[in-house]
């Protein structure tokens, strides 16, 4: 078990033949992901990385039976690609591209929701079920199979967290990089119940950052519904107000969205909150050895 994706998940790549798409699709194939084809308009009928290329997502779905799409198209084409995937009946779109305009994502996400398509990202490392299926750009070798689920807004903190969990002798069931943009797809609140229901997951690492209130919503949800231990780190305790810290959504605006308020809410919900990402591994060891 795991959440959302596993060794049988059939994946197509939108932006398959582009530089980034090619490079990472190849890495995913090497990891064992069932990439069954890709989409690049006007390259339909050709082959790339040993897989068929289609002109449209509809054709790709009809021919391959894919349920998940990994999106690598340039920023201004992201919304179009997401909506095409939703229209074609894709169940989950993993959007890696960074820099998609917020207004586009509003429309794309609303359309995806209407078509019951889940989205992850944009501007994220993707999703990985350890040793089964990698859909994204994370270094696969650090994710050893195990019982810890991980949800993170930050790519490199996903790697940092997973690495520590594995060094402590534990492993990862599924890790999801949800992205740090103002509008994102699946978030803590939707992913936490999936991990709660997954028998393979015994504990959850949740990595957040300043800006917005997704972590506060997560805290409320955890308090009511999550019985598995949760370890959390919130990045940006030392970030100044009103300054955007790299991610488009990482900004304390009007004094709201601080690390302190998020940490307090999570602590009040019974979450083990660490003040440095270097403590994630130890904290997981503590909660799992109880």
């Amino acid at each position: 078990m795991s959440i959302l994706v596993n060794k049988d998940t059939k994946v197509i790549v939108q932006g398959f033949t582009g530089k980034e798409g090619s490079f990472h699709a190849e890495q995913c194939l090497a990891y064992g992901t069932k990439i069954v084809g890709g989409v690049t308009p006007n390259k339909g009928g050709t082959e790339h990385l040993g897989q068929p290329v289609f002109n449209t997502v509809k054709e790709a779905v009809a021919s391959t039976g894919a349920t998940v799409s990994m999106i690598f198209v340039p920023p201004v084409f992201v919304a179009d690609a997401v909506m095409e995937a939703a229209d074609a009946g894709i169940e989950l779109a993993v959007i890696i591209t960074e820099g998609a305009p917020v207004r586009d994502m509003q429309a794309a996400k609303a359309y995806a929701t209407k078509h019951n398509m889940k989205t992850i990202g944009p501007n994220c490392p993707g999703i990985i079920t350890a040793e089964e299926c990698k859909i994204g750009i994370m270094p696969g070798m650090i994710f050893k199979k195990g019982n810890v689920g991980l949800i993170s807004k930050s790519g490199t903190l996903t790697y940092e967290g997973a690495n520590q969990v594995c060094r402590e002798g534990f492993g990862i069931s599924t890790a999801v990089g949800i992205g740090g943009d103002p509008i994102i797809g699946l978030s803590y609140k939707q992913l936490l119940p999936m991990f709660e229901a997954d028998p393979e997951t015994h504990a959850i690492v949740m990595i957040g950052e300043i800006g917005g209130d997704l972590e506060i919503q997560a805290a409320a949800y955890i308090k009511e519904h999550i019985t598995k231990p949760v370890v959390a780190f919130i990045a940006g305790q030392t970030a100044p107000k009103g300054k955007r810290m790299g991610h488009a959504g990482a900004i304390i605006s009007g004094g709201a969205g601080t690390a302190a308020e998020k940490m307090a809410a999570l602590e009040a919900a019974g979450v083990k909150v660490v003040v440095s990402p270097s403590e994630i591994g130890k904290a997981i060891a503590e909660v799992l050895k109880k």
Partner: protein, 391 residues
């Protein structure tokens, strides 16, 4: 990206959002000329900087004669204006806006921002115009009306009614005017990929007209490519020079006031590194995300920018390679030590993709000043120790 009040008002005018007449000036002479064109009898001389709270800081003043316009322009142009949003160092006033005085009866607040929780724009309005909206939200949240507008349907009549009844506007003529005002504002917010619009105050005049007395706009940086007219409004003198220079090299940089320079890949890990330094008893000097396409040139540039800050006593390079390969960063560090005089200890932690190769590169180079660290905690501890030793 943010723009000046006078630029926001140009956009307002294009969409038919009423504003007082005004003209921008870059010299006292031009300010006087503008005042003559406007005709008076009352003018407002306004400092143009990218920060709120200008009035309280002495950057907005009323003039009742051309002589007074001249005197006030001389005072304000070139002054360093300090407001609650500029920080203690303040901002140099390089532009003025000379505007017709308005006959103010009521002051309202009207803004449009993205509601991240609802994932749609929200129109915010309040009868408490002229005050910091953060304070109103904190002290009297019931005085703020929030109307979410789903872009799929756009601004509808019911949104407008919710707005005017919420603000207690009963005169039907005034209702019509304010609804039209808000609907135009929503339109220009959407069409220009704005991130936020704030009109504080929006005034009702003695004759029942609504005017945008102030105008603040910010835009989604990711969408600037499709708005060359907006991009042309960028005023680089309002931006932090180091942050801008870093941006040109694909680096994301924010300066802080501590002693340990940080160079990290990924925004989250960059913040986490700052937090860890703080946790270990040190102080971070900056946020710096080298991004996913780091190479020798960008890393060297990163060192150069970090080292411009004389307070920096040590640098912590913390890389967890995913897309960015550690061997490239290692080569970047070597390159940087040739290009830039790195006179402080550099603590290097490289983990992830090609980490063993990177360690090999650094070991073979054997540079004085470069200290290897095994993990995040070890690196932060070594950086804090090195900074303390340097004192």
């Amino acid at each position: 990206m943010n723009i000046h009040e006078y630029q926001a008002k140009q956009i307002f005018a294009k969409y038919g959002v009423p504003t007082p007449k005004g003209l921008m000036a870059e010299s006292v002479e031009q300010a006087v000329e503008n005042a003559k064109v406007l005709g008076g009898p009352v003018w407002v001389v306004k400092a143009q900087i990218h920060a709120g709270g200008r009035g309280l800081g002495g950057g907005v003043k009323l003039a009742r004669s051309i002589e007074e316009v001249e005197k006030l322009s001389r005072e304000i142009l070139g002054m360093t204006l300090i407001t609650h949003q500029t920080g203690p160092e303040g901002k140099l006033v390089q532009k003025l806006y000379i505007e017709d005085g308005a006959d103010i009866k009521d002051e309202l607040y009207l803004g449009v921002v993205l509601d991240r929780a609802r994932e749609m724009p929200v129109i915010m309005a309040s009868t408490e115009g002229g005050m910091a909206i953060e304070d109103v939200a904190h002290n009297t949240p019931e005085k703020i009306i929030k109307i979410a507008v789903d872009p799929a349907i756009g601004f509808q009549g019911f949104h407008g009614r919710e707005l005017v009844f919420g603000l207690g506007i009963t005169d039907s003529n005034e209702q019509k005017k304010l609804i039209s005002f808000a609907s135009k504002l929503y339109k220009l917010y959407m069409e220009n990929d704005a991130e936020m619009i704030e009109i504080n105050p929006l005034v009702k005049t003695g004759s029942g007209e609504f005017l945008a007395l102030d105008g603040k706009m910010g835009f989604d940086d990711s969408a600037l490519g499709r708005h060359p007219d907006i991009e042309a409004m960028r005023d680089i003198s309002e931006e932090d020079a180091d942050e801008r220079e870093a941006g040109e090299y694909g680096l994301s940089y924010v300066s802080l006031d501590g002693e340990i320079g940080c160079m990290v890949n990924g925004a989250g890990l960059a913040m986490g590194t700052m937090d860890t330094i703080n946790y270990m008893g040190g102080t971070p000097a900056n946020f710096l995300d080298v991004g996913g396409k780091a190479n020798a040139e960008t890393v060297a540039k990163g060192f150069e920018i970090i080292l411009k800050n004389p307070k920096v006593k040590a640098i912590f390079v913390n890389i967890f390679g995913g897309i960015v390969r550690c061997d490239r960063i290692a080569n970047g560090i070597l390159e940087a030590t040739k290009l830039v005089d790195v006179h402080v200890p550099v603590i290097v932690r490289l983990d992830g993709t090609n980490a063993p190769e990177a360690a090999e590169i650094l070991r073979n180079a054997n540079i004085a000043n470069v200290i290897a660290a095994t993990d995040l905690a070890d690196g932060a501890a070594k950086a804090v120790a090195a900074a303390k030793q340097a004192k």
